[in-house]
């Protein structure tokens, strides 16, 4: 598609492109140099501030690794719980019965409309007042609850889009050979749409990983962002700590995104006569805030 938008470049266009490239490069370099210079002037690039990350492992073993572990634990658990819940909600929203479809729709739309942060705070109050979950685990449970409620409704939309993306012939054929609706869903539609939805589900995981950072800010959930703050207190290097944490998030999420697009390419090539593969872009469109996520 990209190359369709412009002609094969002749000598003049090539010269113009070289000029654009040069101007853009100079602009980028100027900004980069200015940022470097300003940070250097303010002493933010002093070796003492960055040393904890490059020599010795104590910064990692004391702060970063325990925090990262919490982040990954919460994200993984949230995904594992949200996935079946989302599938049930998504299928319920496709139901022929009004009394199943309407409540499912309300639940999905409600939890998609509220910031995850609010859901997490609500979860914390809920566990504190009505359960005897120990105080150590409470922030963890609250974070996971918030993530599950929000992401289950997003995943529900992914599942719904995945099932709707299958060719109509599939369900028609299933009904024609005399399968009941439950059988059709279980034996024909779900198995086919699961492979379709996988890339979208993996990229939703990115949103979950990022959203765990919200729990740290408000609920004292000791995840990566909280460790960064504690670490900055000890080393006195807020900017450096934030940078390192940002890099870690990019590495984790970029590998997840790359995995998603690898999966997508694989499924596109491998697919025979089933429906389309839900891409990251498709789900942003069809399934709500999938790619965009809530805060952080």
């Amino acid at each position: 598609m990209t190359s369709v938008l412009y002609d094969v470049q002749g000598p003049r266009a090539k010269r113009r492109n070289v000029l654009y490239t040069a101007v853009f490069l100079i602009a980028l370099a100027a900004v980069a140099w200015w940022v470097y210079k300003s940070f250097d002037d303010k002493g933010q690039l002093a070796w003492a501030l960055w040393k904890p990350f490059f020599s010795g492992t104590e910064a990692y073993t004391t702060y970063i690794w325990p925090g990262l572990q919490k982040t990954l634990e919460a994200a993984a658990l949230a995904m594992v719980v949200a996935l079946p819940l989302g599938a049930v909600l998504g299928i319920a929203r496709l139901s022929d019965h009004l009394w199943v479809r309407v409540p499912a729709t309300i639940v999905i739309e409600f939890f998609r409309a509220i910031p995850v942060l609010v859901l997490m705070i609500f979860g914390l109050a809920l566990f504190a007042q009505y359960t005897d979950v120990s105080s150590d685990d409470r922030p963890f449970y609250a974070v996971v609850t918030g993530l599950v409620l929000y992401n289950a409704s997003v995943l529900a939309e992914i599942v719904r889009a995945g099932i709707l993306a299958l060719p109509k012939g599939q369900s028609e054929a299933a009904l024609a050979i005399g399968l009941r609706k439950g059988q059709m869903m279980r034996l024909i539609l779900l198995p086919q749409s699961v492979t379709t939805m996988l890339p979208a589900i993996v990229s939703q995981l990115v949103v979950i990983v990022k959203d765990t950072a919200l729990g740290g800010a408000v609920l004292t959930f000791p995840e990566l962002m909280t460790s960064a703050n504690t670490m900055a207190g000890y080393y006195g290097n807020m900017i450096a700590s934030l940078t390192v944490v940002a890099v870690i998030f990019v590495v984790i999420n970029f590998s997840l995104t790359s995995f998603a697009s690898w999966l997508e390419g694989r499924l596109r090539r491998g697919k025979k006569s089933t429906g389309a593969v839900l891409t990251v872009e498709d789900t942003v469109g069809v399934a709500g805030h999938a790619g965009t996520g809530t805060a952080a």
């Binding site: 412009y6 490239t21 109050a125 990115v206 990022k210 469109g285």
Partner: protein
């Protein structure tokens, strides 16, 4: 149960949320479109920049980006965006941070929209001698934007909810007020309910109205 509300300016806080949302939405639409143009354009360096930008920015938690815009841009680079007092500075920095973050998603939505425009459109445009900016600006983008209303709506709804993160640098919006109320009042559930209700009021109509607009403007093919 809701007596405590008299003491707080709930409407004012949500007005700040709305302002943050609208300003960031306008900004990220412009910057996101530019990024999308770079990503489909003929200059390899710009393509690379666009790709790198999107891949880096959308993988960082927004909290980190917002904190950076205050701690990095304001404290160390001395950018205050023409304001003198912290309330205004941090409001503007929050808008900047939200633009930086949201435009990555806007860019992807528009790129997906561009992919829905039939190849023949661009080919015909080139055949009559239009240059790349003309092909993009006069033929492809107008159709792509109409197709992208759906994804852009979702980005807007996410942005509305994302403004809560601005509380991290002390912008007095809805989540900031919520934290303050929770510290001072006992009715935790009532506070959550009020804030949740406010967000439902903001996001649900947005989704419904723009969903209708999206259907209305969709290019029938």
């Amino acid at each position: 149960m809701f007596d405590f509300l008299d003491k707080y300016d709930v409407l004012g806080a949500f007005w700040t949320t709305v302002q943050l949302t609208l300003l960031s939405a306008a900004g990220s639409l412009v910057w996101g479109t530019l990024l999308a143009a770079m990503r489909v354009g003929p200059v390899p360096l710009m393509r690379g920049f666009g790709t790198a930008y999107v891949n880096i920015v959308r993988n960082i938690p927004l909290t980190v980006i917002i904190l950076f815009s205050s701690l990095g841009l304001n404290q160390n680079l001395g950018i205050s965006l023409g304001a003198n007092d912290f309330d205004t500075i941090n409001f503007r920095l929050a808008v900047l941070g939200l633009i930086v973050y949201t435009s990555a998603f806007v860019c992807e939505a528009i790129r997906a929209g561009i992919n829905t425009v039939p190849v023949g459109q661009a080919e015909a445009a080139r055949a009559i001698g239009l240059s790349f900016p003309q092909v993009l600006g006069l033929v492809v983008l107008p159709q792509a934007l109409r197709a992208a209303v759906g994804p852009l709506t979702n980005a807007l709804i996410a942005l509305t909810k994302n403004t809560t993160v601005a509380a991290a640098i002390g912008v007095a919006e809805a989540a900031f007020l919520m934290k303050k109320m929770i510290e001072n009042e006992a009715e935790l559930l009532a506070i959550s309910a009020v804030i949740a209700f406010g967000f439902v009021c903001l996001t649900l109509p947005t989704g419904l109205i723009l969903g209708w607009v999206g259907k209305k403007v969709a290019v029938k093919r």
